[in-house]
Symmetry: D2
Subunit: 267 residues, 4 copies
């Protein structure tokens, strides 16, 4: 019989059909970050053992990103429908073995390749519709990157608006915020095909990005509105105290993750 | 710390956020099947060890389905955007330990919950845009389920038309075709987060459906057109000899799969 | 120079590029209707001179439809993405010159050909995302057309859920409701390219359908939920008293409308 | 009865429901232009009386644009799903009464408000899926605006890829090309509701933009691939000789058009 190839299914004789190719995966895009504080208990209940609360246990970041991504040969850049995607995600802080950690607890994205790449990294991705203002340098149909410029972003899923965010720019700063600043600590859980058995995959992993670059970071006053959905629980992280908003363009490469703990129970 | 719940991510304190709930999953829908023969070598190169060719090794089925699905409590039926989806898929035959087997080698679907359910079952799903004629009983804007009625279906992905299919109905028959008639034998492959390590999951599984029901099956003359895409290889299964087309409505429940072989290599 | 052809733009030497072909347009589909009463003043303020209130001036119908449509040669039936579309619309009653009239005041549809056909007929169409339960005859993933079966439908636009509707079936009846039962009386208003000038087109038209067919009509108990959107006003027609819900499959042909009054002011 | 308000349907007591508000409409976005020559007869057959061929009668421009747009109060900027859209269009040259003219002969856009604004201006818009590379300043997932950077764009409609375009950047230049440089001369044709009558609207109009701004224009080597579709004829304008490609960001305001000739025949 044949040797099937492919980093992910569909497998084939060449591996060319794979939905996601082997890393490295390169990213360039724009990032809008809003930080706030919620009820710490709502964050703590989203941290699995052995993650412990951060020293600011109610801190949350909501991020919106408008990406281009590609593999080393950059082929997706010549077919932008395969390179561009948008996502919205919610990150909380934690501590792992005494070291600060970040963890994405909810995320929506608008392309299948990004959905699967996320699941490989332990991002709990669902599909959504994400929109994000682009700053402009000519014309009247967009904000400038200058004090007073307002950037807006929204995410919806299953025909329901979920989150609306706005940041009114004030000044260039040297921080992108702190909640999303640490290595991501995610749970990769994948069910068994026999649903009476324990999960086939249940591991705590840590991700690191390489070759991170960014432009100037703009800081400003944030606004955030959460709506409810029968299939979502992000609204339990409702804001109690707004902190700051940030906008910047970033570039990085994802190459490797590390399995910190394997929680699989042998069936 | 907390006990996180959920059959799939996102995990939460309640499990309500999961993209996919625990089975059983119930399905009702319409199914258009086209069977044909291609170069047997193109099928054989898609069969991993220890699957062996079927006794009709070049036989292929292309299927289009327009589904409603729900969990036991049927909640998705009250929000049809969460219940309805369409898919197109390509199935080949094989033999496993001397028993006839079916295997889905390429598949496209239009909702995220169906994408993840498929991956749990070893269907190599990508997102696509699927359209399928519905027979009608009044008016002039659709075929009747009667001799001469023509049913059409198409699938596209990443803004490219991939497959067009048509079946001209002839008669009611008692078969739905043979290629997709056997238990599905799928490879569940999921990469490690450390791409230098072997896959975290690599198993051969078998699926069985329960409580299968169907309406009359209509049989007819099929037509099939394949287009090329830089990211797809289904066109290697190009038709050499057309067989038959079938149309029917079906209902079934998926509950359990079985792990036949664990091919994981310890890293 | 050349003679450009086409029932609608884009015009070309052959007319084949037209977004919408010349009528007749044939329709077959499923129709869910919910009737209720709202504040009559909210209906009356949507009736232009010389339309007058109906004898049940607060009566409103919300309808959801899942269509196939085609021209005489039926070519769209062989490419279902060009034949199928869904729509949701709100109809009120009126009186014109003493005769009962129906008028569509808000409508959303999910394909461009249906959007333009609607504008030609005076339907004030916007794009939306419409979903509608399909009754099934096998399996557990859908209601049966029988007492107790529940049909649901939703419409969203610009990533916001607008309307949710449900009908719990009770019995076969001989009416499809009364609000949408009369000839449609619509305003065809199209702006001048010089926005300081009066509209280029401002006429009251009446539409009639031909060759109407239907299956049995099921009647039942309706539920209706309206949500708000910054760009919509349908919620002003909020229910005060629910009437009945209806489900049926229909077929008809649109061929001709009639201009009742030309309200154009010469610029 | 009431005074219905609205620049376009749906009309209401406030006018707030209109799909398109009264101009001015402000635009800011990125524009990729590819110029080439085709068979002049294919262009000439798309020019209605009294438009005459340009002095370079086979010259054609294919343009891709990624826009934000808003009304004077800029409200769409706070809800980017209502502000952002993409379009692809084909422009030819002509002469009107001895003066150079531009004319859009085919165009696809991805939002309903842009579709209707286009029809008001005589752009023969259909819906499509448009994608366009964005240049980046950080990371590896996009070209830089520098010699050798490659920008790509595609358009699809009804699940079929229609056009692929690429421009390899060479240098900053002072031209955006010539085919699209003149006032747009469009035919506003709108059918009668009585399809046996002549069109209700048939006029030749001229559009002018105000307050035009642009960034540097990059010029480079273009590539263009046309695909066929059963409902499109743009492929008749196939390239015989490639000219140049251009990339720039632009801003402008549309306020007013002018009716040059009314070709309506009284029914």
């Amino acid at each position: 019989m044949s040797e099937l190839k492919g980093f992910t299914p569909p497998l084939s004789a060449t591996g060319r059909s794979s939905l996601v190719p082997e890393p490295p995966w390169h990213y360039s895009g724009d990032l809008l970050t809003i930080e706030y504080r919620t009820d710490p208990d709502r964050v703590i209940e989203l941290l699995p053992d052995p993650l412990e609360p951060s020293d600011d246990p109610g801190a949350v970041a909501v991020l919106f990103a408008d990406w281009q991504s590609c593999r080393d040969d950059g082929q997706e850049q010549l077919d932008p429908v395969r390179s561009q995607y948008k996502e919205a995600f919610i990150v909380v802080g934690a501590t792992y073995r005494g070291r600060p950690a970040s963890r994405c607890v909810f995320i929506w994205v608008d392309k299948d390749f990004a959905l699967l790449r996320g699941w490989i990294q332990g991002y709990p991705k669902k599909l959504g519709s994400i929109w994000m203002t682009r700053p402009v340098t000519v014309g009247k149909a967009g904000p400038r990157l200058e004090p007073g410029g307002v950037l807006a972003a929204t995410v919806a899923a299953y025909d329901r608006r979920l989150i609306e965010a706005r940041v009114k720019l004030e000044r260039i700063t040297d921080s992108m915020g702190s909640v999303n600043a640490h290595p991501m600590h995610h749970t990769r859980l994948f069910p068994s095909v026999d649903s009476s058995a324990p999960p086939a995959l249940d591991e705590l992993v840590m991700l690191r990005s390489l070759a991170f670059e960014r432009t100037d970071v703009w800081e400003g006053e944030p606004e955030l509105t959460f709506f409810q959905s029968p299939t979502e629980e992000f609204h339990l992280l409702e804001p109690r105290e707004m902190l700051r908003g940030y906008y910047t363009s970033v570039g990085f490469t994802f190459g490797q993750g590390e399995v910190l703990e394997d929680h699989r129970v042998e069936g």
